[in-house]
C-alpha cells in the first residue's frame, strides 16, 4: 500500500511542474485566443472589447488579403520544403561514405540550421541587395544585369525561398543521413544475394525503408516553414505589394501594427487548427514506428 502511494506521489511531483508551465503557457493561451477571436478588440482604442460571435471569421473568409497570405504561404512551403527535401535526400547519399574528412564536412554544414534565423535574414538581405549584394555580383559575372531580388514580384518570394533552402537543407540532410546510417546492413546483403541490381535495391529496399523518415522530416519542415517570419521580417517585410506576405506576417501586422487583436486572434485560431492537424499526423507517424512512451 505504501509503495503505491509513494509511487503516485513521486509521479505527481516529477511531472506536475513541467505540466503546470505547459498548461499555463500552451493550453491556456489557446483557449484565451479563442476567447479573443470572438471579440472586436482594438488595442489602441479606449473602448472595451465587444463580443461579436463569429464575425471575425466571417470577415476572414471574404478577406482578399488573407487569401493571398494563405496562398503565398502555400507557395513558400511547397517550393522551400520541396527543394530542401530533394536536395537533402540526395546530399545524404553523397555524404554517406566512409571517406576521410566527410564527417568533418558534414558537421560543418549544420551551421546554417543552428544559427539565429534573424541573422540569416540579415546576411542574405545584404547579399541580395541590389546595389552591393554578392548575389548580384555573381549574376553580373555570369552575364546578367543587376536584379532587384527583394523588391520585384515573384523574385522576392524566390529569394526568400532560396534563403530558407540554404538554411534548412542541412537539417534535412542530417535527418536523412541518420536514417541511412540506421538501415540494417543484412537486408542489403540479402538483396545482393537475391540478385537485385543497384537501382532495384534503391527503389525496392532503400526508399521504402526511408519512408518513415521522409514523412517525419516533411511534417517538421512544413510546420516550421508555415510559422516562420524572421526572413520576411528582415528581407522583404511582406512586400512588394504582398508578394511575400506569408500568413505569419499578415497575422503579425494585424495584431501588432494595426492592433486589431480580435481579427489577429481569429487568424491565430485557424493557424492553430491547421498546426494541430499536422502535429497529429506527426504523432501518428511516430507511434507507428513504435516510439510510444
Amino acid at each position: 500500500m505504501k509503495l503505491a502511494v509513494e509511487r503516485r506521489r513521486a509521479t505527481l511531483v516529477l511531472i506536475a511542474p513541467a505540466l503546470a508551465i505547459l498548461l499555463a503557457l500552451n493550453l491556456f493561451p489557446i483557449v484565451y485566443a479563442l476567447y479573443i477571436s470572438v471579440h472586436y478588440w482594438m488595442l489602441a482604442r479606449p473602448q472595451p472589447p465587444r463580443f461579436v460571435g463569429l464575425s471575425n471569421y466571417e470577415q476572414l473568409f471574404f478577406d482578399e488579403r488573407f487569401r493571398n497570405a494563405v496562398l503565398v504561404s502555400l507557395k513558400f512551403i511547397a517550393l522551400a520544403v520541396g527543394t530542401e527535401l530533394l536536395l537533402g535526400f540526395g546530399l545524404a547519399f553523397v555524404f554517406n561514405a566512409r571517406l576521410r574528412g566527410m564527417a568533418t564536412l558534414r558537421k560543418l554544414t549544420l551551421l546554417p540550421s543552428l544559427v539565429m534565423p534573424l541573422v540569416v535574414g540579415l546576411v542574405w538581405f545584404y547579399m541580395f541587395n541590389e546595389n552591393f549584394g554578392i548575389v548580384n555580383w555573381i549574376w553580373v559575372m555570369l552575364g546578367g544585369t543587376r536584379v532587384p531580388f527583394l523588391t520585384q514580384g515573384t523574385l522576392a518570394l524566390l529569394s526568400i525561398v532560396a534563403t530558407d533552402v540554404w538554411q534548412w537543407t542541412p537539417f534535412v540532410m542530417l535527418v536523412f543521413f541518420a536514417a541511412l546510417q540506421a538501415l540494417p546492413e543484412y537486408v542489403y546483403e540479402a538483396a545482393r544475394i537475391d540478385g537485385l541490381s543497384g537501382s532495384q535495391i534503391f527503389f525496392r529496399v532503400t526508399l521504402p525503408l526511408l519512408r518513415p523518415a521522409i514523412l517525419i522530416v516533411l511534417i517538421i519542415r512544413a510546420v516550421d516553414a508555415l510559422r516562420s517570419l524572421e526572413l520576411v521580417f528582415m528581407m522583404t517585410k511582406g512586400g512588394p505589394a504582398g508578394d511575400t506576405e506569408v500568413l505569419p506576417w499578415y497575422l503579425y501586422t494585424t495584431g501588432f501594427m494595426s492592433l486589431d487583436l480580435g481579427y489577429a486572434a481569429a487568424m491565430a485560431v485557424l493557424m492553430l487548427a491547421l498546426v494541430t492537424v499536422l502535429s497529429q499526423l506527426f504523432v501518428r507517424q511516430l507511434e507507428s514506428r513504435g516510439a510510444t512512451p
Binding site: 503557457l25 484565451y32 553523397v94 543552428l114 554578392i134 512512451p293
Partner: protein, 293 residues
C-alpha cells in the same frame, strides 16, 4: 557469428555505404565540399562585413581584400546612438541560461516520470507534450501578450524565461525520456531495495546516468532560446530586450549601419559556431528528435 565478422563492417561493400571507386570518391568530395562551402560562405560575409570600413561595405563590385577595422564592433557595443549592444547581449545570456536550466530541470523530472511510471492517460499526455513543439509563436503572441501585460510583466526577464522554458520543454522531455528508458531497471530496483525513495533514485541514480542526454537537451534549449525572436520582440522593450531585438531594430534604420549590425550578427552567431562544433555528437541525437534512431 564469428568474431572476424564483426570487424567486417569496415569493409562491407553495400548498396548504401560505398567503398568508393576512384572517380566516385572524387565526385563525392567535390559535391560535399561545394555544399559545405555554400553553407559556410555567408558566415564569412558576416564576419568580413563586420570588419570592413564603411566604404568597403558599400563597394561595388564587392571588395574581397580590405583593411580590417574593429570600429564597427566598438560602435555596436558601446556607442551606437545610445543603444549599445552590451545590455542586449547580457539579457540574451541571462535569459537563455536561466530558461535552459529550468527547461532541463523540469523536463528531466517529467521525462523520468514518463519513462518509469505508468498512469491513466499517460500516452495521450505524452503525445500532447510532444505536439507543443509545433506551437507557432506567431499564433500565440496575441493571447500571450495580453496575458503578460495583464500581470504586469511586460519587458521583464521572467516573462521570457518562462515562455522559453515552455517552448523547450517538449524537446527536453522527448530527448531525456529515451535516455531514461535505456537505464536498466535493475539498477533502480537495487537502490529501492537499499531504501532510497523514488525521488532520491531520480536524483542520485538516474540523472547521473543520462548525462549525454542532458548535455544534448541543454545545448539545444540554449540555442533555441538564444535564437528566438518573435516573443522577445513583442514582449520586451528596453530592460529585458535580447540580442534579436537589437538586430530587429536594424530593419528600421534604413540600411545605413551595416557594419554595426553585422558586428552584432557576429556576436549572435559566434556562440553557436563555437559550441556546436565542439559538442557535435550530442547534437545529432537531439535534433533528429529520436524520430530517427
Amino acid at each position: 557469428m564469428s568474431v572476424a565478422l564483426i570487424r567486417n563492417k569496415d569493409v562491407q561493400v553495400s548498396a548504401t555505404r560505398s567503398h568508393a571507386a576512384w572517380p566516385i570518391g572524387t565526385l563525392r568530395y567535390l559535391i560535399a565540399a561545394t555544399f559545405t562551402g555554400f553553407c559556410l560562405f555567408p558566415f564569412y560575409v558576416i564576419v568580413t562585413t563586420a570588419l570592413k570600413a564603411e566604404t568597403a561595405i558599400f563597394a561595388w563590385p564587392p571588395v574581397w581584400s580590405f583593411q580590417p577595422t574593429l570600429q564597427s564592433f566598438y560602435n555596436a557595443l558601446f556607442v551606437f546612438g545610445g543603444r549599445s549592444a552590451v545590455s542586449y547581449l547580457i539579457n540574451s545570456i541571462v535569459i537563455s541560461a536561466v530558461s535552459t536550466f529550468l527547461a532541463v530541470a523540469l523536463g528531466a523530472m517529467a521525462a523520468y516520470g514518463f519513462a518509469r511510471f505508468s498512469f491513466a492517460g499517460k500516452g495521450r499526455l505524452a503525445f500532447w507534450i510532444l505536439s507543443t513543439r509545433f506551437a507557432p509563436p506567431v499564433a500565440f503572441i496575441v493571447p500571450i501578450y495580453l496575458m503578460v501585460q495583464k500581470v504586469g510583466l511586460l519587458d521583464s526577464h521572467i516573462a521570457l524565461i518562462l515562455i522559453y522554458t515552455a517552448m523547450n520543454l517538449s524537446l527536453v522531455i522527448w530527448i531525456l525520456r529515451g535516455f531514461f528508458a535505456e537505464i536498466p531497471i535493475e539498477i533502480e530496483e537495487a537502490a529501492l531495495v537499499d531504501g532510497y525513495s523514488r525521488l532520491q533514485i531520480f536524483w542520485r541514480v538516474a540523472v547521473p546516468l543520462v548525462r549525454p542526454g542532458i548535455v544534448s537537451a541543454a545545448i539545444l534549449s540554449a540555442i533555441f532560446s538564444w535564437n528566438e525572436f518573435l516573443y522577445a520582440m513583442v514582449l520586451t522593450q528596453s530592460r529585458a530586450a535580447t540580442l534579436p531585438v537589437y538586430l530587429a531594430g536594424f530593419s528600421n534604420s534604413m540600411g545605413l549601419a551595416w557594419g554595426e549590425y553585422m558586428a552584432a550578427g557576429t556576436m549572435a552567431v559566434l556562440p553557436i559556431l563555437v559550441f556546436t562544433f565542439a559538442l557535435q555528437k550530442y547534437l545529432v541525437r537531439g535534433l533528429t528528435f529520436g524520430a530517427v534512431k
